[in-house]
């Protein structure tokens, strides 16, 4: 796509999400995808490895897996979706940041409120007995 590489570097320029500045060079583009592939495959391999091994203290494995997952999502965003911190990507990043805020509220809010409900609820067997 010719018009994804503004020849004039303007501070006001936007770039479509997924487009890479100066991606006219195929070799450079391929290199980017391959670097991303190696990093992502490495993180995936570590995730699978620590699940089965005793390398990480067992109770902390879910946290370690979450951290590795977030890191790999970051690798995908940078190397596959070409998100950068440049001014031409501000709009794309702001939309993503807002989406992540909603995702966090949804997931952690649900877990938090449901754990409290579970804690305060009459145990299920007792409830069944009361209904008889």
């Amino acid at each position: 796509m010719s018009n994804i590489k503004p020849a004039i570097e303007s501070h006001h320029a936007d770039v479509a999400p997924g487009d890479e500045q100066g991606a006219d060079d195929i070799a450079r583009g391929v290199r980017g995808y391959l670097v991303g592939f190696v990093l992502a495959a490495g993180l995936t391999a570590v995730s699978f490895y620590i699940t089965r091994s005793t390398l990480v203290w067992a109770p902390s494995i879910p946290i370690a897996l979450s951290v590795l997952a977030v890191a790999q999502m970051g690798v995908h965003l940078v190397f596959f979706l070409h998100m950068t911190s440049g001014p031409d990507n501000v709009n794309n990043l702001m939309a993503l940041a807002f989406g992540l805020l909603i995702v966090m509220l949804l997931v952690f809010g649900s877990l938090w409120i449901m754990s409290h409900l579970n804690h305060n609820m009459v145990p299920m067997e007792q409830l069944m007995r009361m209904q008889r």
Binding site: S2, N3, I4, I8, A13, G29, H76, V103, V107, G109
Partner: protein, 219 residues
């Protein structure tokens, strides 16, 4: 778009019309460039709302993951070998999808079609393994009706599988449209949106294999 136009540098849309003429660019190109940004951004907003949809399914799963109703839990059902193959398929297909975009940008028909074909095969392999896993679980009596955990599991993973299915149909459509219509501006925009969609599905799968399958095995 002619080959001569294709090598002309485009310019950022936010610059005024007089700037574009000063830079020797036609209004048509300036328009095409800004349409690409608007379309890409709009599709990006859709993808973020899709991620929020997955977050809702995931929150449901996370809340219900212990509610096995005396039935099998994740560690009794999941086969990490299959999950590893699925992950490898989807990760590699994300790279080949990127190569297809590079092929389309370079107007390289062979690279585009070969990369899209490999992407399709890997996506289809992912889907086949997932369906095999589902069939296997249902056969063992661990279908979605067995427990709240399994209902949430099938809804979450099934929703991702449906997205992959839609992506595969879209992929074939794009290959056909490039053959029938060539690398028109609108076709290139659709390829951009397809690539965004496919990469996003891979990002969602990273969350799923880590937090559903791997955490499920350790629980």
């Amino acid at each position: 778009m002619s080959a001569a136009e294709a090598v002309l540098p485009a310019h950022p849309p936010s610059r005024g019309r007089e700037h574009s003429h000063a830079a020797g660019l036609t209004e048509h190109e300036s328009h095409a460039s800004s349409v690409r940004i608007v379309v890409g951004y709009g599709f990006w907003i859709f993808l973020i709302s899709d991620i929020i949809l997955f977050a809702a399914f995931f929150a449901t799963y996370a809340v219900l993951s212990e509610s096995t109703a005396g039935g099998p839990a994740g560690r009794d059902l999941f086969d990490l070998r299959l999950v590893a193959i699925e992950t490898a398929c989807l990760l590699t297909s994300s790279v080949t999808c990127g190569l297809a975009v590079l092929g389309a940008q370079a107007r390289n028909r062979r690279l585009f079609h070969a990369a899209m074909a490999v992407t399709f095969v890997l996506g289809a392999a992912f889907l086949a393994i997932e369906l095999h896993e589902f069939a296997d679980m249902i056969e063992k009596g661990a279908g979605p009706q067995r427990s709240a955990f399994l209902s949430a599991f099938f809804a979450l993973i099934g929703c991702h599988g449906l997205h992959v299915t839609a992506g595969l149909l879209w992929l074939l459509t794009m290959m056909a449209q490039v053959v029938a219509k060539g690398y028109r501006e609108d076709i290139l925009r659709r390829i951009l949106c397809f690539a965004l969609f496919w990469h996003t599905l891979d990002i969602i799968w990273v969350g799923l294999f880590s937090l559903v399958y791997l955490v499920g095995m350790t629980a």
